[in-house]
Homo-oligomer: 352 residues x 2
Amino acid sequence: MTGTDPRAVMRALIEQAHPYRGLAAPNPVVAAAVVRNGEWVAAGVHTRAGGDHAEVVALKRAGDKAVGATLYVTLEPCTHWGKTPPCCSAIIAAGIAHVVWAVDDPSPHVRRQPAESVLQAAGIGVTRGILADDARLLNPAFHRADPAAPFITMKLAQSLDGKLALDNGDSAYLTSDSARRYVHQIRNAVDAIVVGAETVWTDNPALTIRHGIASTREPAVIVASRDPRTPKRLRTMRLFSANRPVYVTTLTESGIETVQRVDAQGQWGPEEALTAVLPAPHLLVEGGATIVDQMLQAGVVDELLVMVAPCILGGAQYWGGFQSPDSLMNRQCLAHTQVHQFDDTVMIQGLT
Amino acid sequence: MTGTDPRAVMRALIEQAHPYRGLAAPNPVVAAAVVRNGEWVAAGVHTRAGGDHAEVVALKRAGDKAVGATLYVTLEPCTHWGKTPPCCSAIIAAGIAHVVWAVDDPSPHVRRQPAESVLQAAGIGVTRGILADDARLLNPAFHRADPAAPFITMKLAQSLDGKLALDNGDSAYLTSDSARRYVHQIRNAVDAIVVGAETVWTDNPALTIRHGIASTREPAVIVASRDPRTPKRLRTMRLFSANRPVYVTTLTESGIETVQRVDAQGQWGPEEALTAVLPAPHLLVEGGATIVDQMLQAGVVDELLVMVAPCILGGAQYWGGFQSPDSLMNRQCLAHTQVHQFDDTVMIQGLT
């Protein structure tokens, strides 16, 4: 790739990072490139927590060619020691002349010592905010406005006609294999998966992370149900097999406020605040039309991932079954939408 | 652009042609590029009937640089005199060494004298069939399997949740301005627009070609209705203002078989076979859930254009309301899907 339009370089980097979303959890996915005289010398993506950050991958690959070059990166470089040394030190040592990034790192330790001041003190030029909104969509929970609040990603897998299942409830393998793998990557990045009890009874899902993803995390499961028999019925279900916490919740108009832990014997604990059990959780809702509509009406969904398979199902298993507004002016629109393709499945991503 | 992968060049050409679909009607949209040593020397798109064909635009722009170069084109070059001289003559005169095209031209005069034999007789190399399926989607009616049969394109404009309108029927300006302009381009390429009577009563649409498109064509209108009062009610509607033929039809299980012409006084003529009035018509269905579902169940839709706006409408104005199949194996899938973006509106295109 050649070219010196910073927006074009950044757009290409965001495209490179996107397929790896969730894999480096709890870290955000980041891509970086070393560009000299309009030519891509080297690029890198951070794909594994504990592995080299994207900047370091790109700088190592660039070697001497980094001297005097520009480093593009989708996220502000870190300035602190984590599992790896600070990227800003590596950038300075490599002889980079200019750093361009898309979006600032909201982490408190980076905000205490911003990369801009560290790099400028070393005589390195800095450009910030190139395609910031697009880069934020790579790691929307990481960039959430209130880092103490839950962040809710809702995934839907539907036909062209907006149906989530056949009338008989069957919905397995509606979308492409690569689309389902991407959902497992998202599972790898969240603290809990939320499903409706109906989905559990119909599909008996394992809700584990598969598709060859080397996961060290196993998100908790939260089952939404108002039926008092649900804890006892759950114990025979596959979602217990992974030995992770399972909770039951009753969805209120404010969303998920309290949860009750259920054990594999169908016993349940006391009601606890969601954020006491899972502080500032990133939740992935995998509906079910009932829970999808409840969460949307509660107004608590932050990010929507709509997977559309190129087929027509017919039937009445549609979502968005609540009353439509009086005017199109009042419809609920997504902000900052992006479109991605997973073979024949199209994903429309956006923030609500 | 650089690169010598024929598929990459052809994909880029198809992308270049796509935004112009319908504008050159009754001609197909075609894009061409002159490539020498992996470098794009010049490119062109056929955007207006009577104007230079894409090959000629590219060759004129390339000038002397065409000598010994490869010409890529999305459609087999023509070998006959139409409104302009045959492209193959221009290709030979320009000194092109090799021609690569995606899909053969089904026109009888080209089939009688295929470009391959004309070019090879002049010592020019030929490669055919690169991304033929994708190129066919640029002009699907032109490439229809049975040139004597009607070809039906159905356009849907919907929200993420598959709703075509609010519960009160309002659906104006759901999709982006550029998406609506594209639909007007398609109107420019078809022989008739099909709407349900409900859509006429609710929206009173003009169904003309606007958005700054220099159209010399005005497609007929076919209103689907079983109500005998429809002809009389139609006369006050805007769709008569364009002075073009207006027909009423009753959809049968085999689709549109017969039509009755209606005049601006609400008088109607005898029932006639559709293909007697409009031979081998390309029809554009702009539903309306009722007519959409009727046409899908009749199994007569050839091409589907699903425009998805990134919003949630709620309500019950969904399509695909017929019974779902017993198994996902029996769902109706699109073949050869493509995805295009019109600002924040996503279009999923496919053949049924």
